[in-house]
């Protein structure tokens, strides 16, 4: 009985403040911002693990066919442009840095820096996609897209090289589609950041999008050596 008024007061205060938790407030089923953020982070990681298995299946296919047709993979890989690949990897790592800095700016409550770093991330991501489009066009011009008009000039075991290019387009295409989706999400986040939706206390969407962007970066960190760097010495020493 003695406790009742206190409980009632607490309840009233609670529902008063959080009857309709707004954007960025603690929802009633969470104890605190920290707990809410932990739950969001874990949810994002579980999503990223499904992405890991999604890409993992393609990596699996890549390793099997590379094991079966090493010469075809080595010579087809020489058709990729080492410099463009290394340049694009650098661009993507730069975009990961700007994304990390965006999260850092959000966590210290610096709105304009946050907007600036998100825009930088979008610009770098678009530059990556631009270079990728140029590379795809190059493959198109040289008939290196698997299909009716496919050819691999001067390739060893040319009959199996289309497997390499099928995986090349499948894997880089899936990666690029993730970046395109990321670019659209970035546009929304830039707008929301500009409008001041985030604060040092609550910037979960920025943090979680950062996880997504870095994940996409990691996929490329593996795609670069596996697709571009199989046998650059050209001696076929990959068995």
């Amino acid at each position: 009985m003695a406790n009742e008024p206190a409980v009632a007061l607490h309840e009233a205060g609670h529902t008063g403040a959080h009857a309709h938790p707004g954007y960025g407030e603690v929802r009633h089923h969470f104890e605190s911002y920290a707990q809410q953020k932990d739950a969001s982070t874990i949810g994002m990681w579980v999503f990223l693990l499904t992405e890991l298995m999604f890409f993992g299946g393609m990596f699996m296919a890549y390793f099997v066919y590379r094991q079966w047709y090493p010469d075809a993979f080595a010579s087809a890989s020489l058709k990729t442009n080492l410099w463009l690949g290394a340049f694009n990897t650098t661009v993507l790592i730069c975009s990961s840095l700007t994304m990390a800095m965006a999260v850092h700016s959000a966590s210290t409550g610096k709105r304009l820096l946050l907007v600036g770093f998100l825009i930088a991330t979008l610009v770098l991501g678009s530059a990556f996609l631009g270079v990728k489009a140029y590379e795809y066009h190059d493959k198109w011009v040289h008939h290196e897209i698997p299909g009716e008009h496919y050819e691999c000039e001067g390739c060893v075991d040319a009959g199996h090289t289309s497997l390499f290019f099928a995986l090349y387009f499948g894997m880089t295409g899936l990666h690029a589609s993730h970046m395109i989706i990321g670019a659209f999400i970035l546009l929304v986040l830039i707008w929301q950041s500009y409008k001041g939706k985030f604060s040092a206390k609550w910037y979960t969407p920025i943090e979680l999008f950062g996880l997504y962007w870095h994940f996409v970066d990691i996929v490329w960190i593996f795609l670069f050596p596996l697709l571009y760097l199989i046998d650059r010495s050209g001696k076929g020493g990959i068995h």
Binding site: S32, H214, R232
Partner: protein, 113 residues
């Protein structure tokens, strides 16, 4: 009641601010850039069968840097670490068990192959 609330609130603020210093991000960034060009350069040297292992080791190291620092797993909760570890374990199961088959198939001289 109010004391415990106060504690919860201050605990809350403490928990939230895992602000990683900018110097850490820059260090990771320069390491990633350097390793990208190192791996591109090493690929032009003929190491025989070792090329892929060197390339993959560098890629795994780079990915670990990104996961630990850019993705804050080093500063994350134990549950986050456990979930990330489970995902990696599952991926290794996929890759390793299939490759055991692929690698060893030719050892036996299976008829018809």
């Amino acid at each position: 009641m109010s004391a415990s609330h106060h504690n919860a609130a201050s605990h809350d603020n403490h928990e939230e601010h895992h602000v990683v210093p900018v110097s850490v991000y820059l260090g990771v960034f320069f390491a990633l850039i350097a390793l990208t060009w190192v791996t591109a350069w090493i690929s032009t040297i003929d190491l025989g069968p070792l090329n892929i292992y060197v390339a993959l080791s560098i890629a795994i190291f780079k990915a670990s840097l990104v996961v630990l620092f850019f993705m804050h797993v080093k500063y994350g909760t134990r549950l986050t670490k456990l979930i990330v570890g489970c995902g990696l374990f599952w991926l290794i199961l996929l890759l390793f068990i299939v490759m055991m088959d692929i690698w060893t198939r030719s050892w036996m001289g299976v008829p018809g192959r």
